[in-house]
Point group: C2
Chain length 192, copies 2
Amino acid sequence: MKELKEAILKYGVGIGDSIVKVDSFLNHRIDVELSTLMGRDIAAHFTGKQIDIVLTVESSGIAVAMTTAQALGNIPVVFARKSTSLNVGPDVYTAQVYSFTRQVLNTIRVSKAYLPAGSRVLVVDDFLANGAAIEGMRDILTQAGCELAGAAVCVEKGFQAGGSRLRASGIDLYSLAIVDGIDNGKILLRED
Amino acid sequence: MKELKEAILKYGVGIGDSIVKVDSFLNHRIDVELSTLMGRDIAAHFTGKQIDIVLTVESSGIAVAMTTAQALGNIPVVFARKSTSLNVGPDVYTAQVYSFTRQVLNTIRVSKAYLPAGSRVLVVDDFLANGAAIEGMRDILTQAGCELAGAAVCVEKGFQAGGSRLRASGIDLYSLAIVDGIDNGKILLRED
């Protein structure tokens, strides 16, 4: 997606050989106009898929999940929790997810009530690296008897294995920008 | 705000004498249309205040921060982090916040780069109970040399001390719904 790629090239910072720092517009400070455009772009890609629910995982996925759900006609967003909370009851689906950016193993949780069996669910996240978050959400959707209609991420790290593995498993995965590597701090984006 | 109050009365669940469970539309599953309306309502309340940034804290505040920022003309959202992450650098403002719902003490962090001195900031959150989250964000804004233009929350627990204390300290605090108590599971809302 053109606007996201421009923002990555203008404001993104490559650190070492694997960290893509885009917290100035994507996952700490949020460029709301860009987020709204990304939501529209994702919704357009999945036109005709009859999505019922957008599923993401806290926290960085919530913004683009919201704008995607708005563009899909104000369908509900459900965000998986990483920690126990009084806001989430005991009747939950869970999955184990290793976070690349935080370097911790999280249990993600979704209340069973909010994933009715038979729902067609679009999974959305800000980043895709090793694919663990999306695989965790897929695991939860399988438990719930929901259909994974597709997955969308803002930034895919094309030099890590997640994207290839998810596509090989048959998921309709849509990445708005794919980073192929970092060269002396410069982020290298894949051409369309 | 009428639509939120109707949703609380229809879908909210009162537990014990203090838990207001609204995770079916506010902070686990999100009613995106209602969230969009809440954002517009908050933006209308602060018309003329020349807000530059919407500040919230992960995770439950992000949705309504996004819709508020959209309604304020696509101004940026910044969300404070509760945990360390590779996505947030070392150059941060921090504050200590006790979470009533999670019953833990969190350090919240905002990168200094995203709160330029002199900015007029609207603080937004889903819930207000003891007021610790908003006080923590106010603390960070003071460190940053920003102006707290106001605060908005979806649900204020009027039977806890936070709202009164924040108003007494001079904050322009706007609550879309105020819960005055729970009576045998029934949520009691304050009349306008």
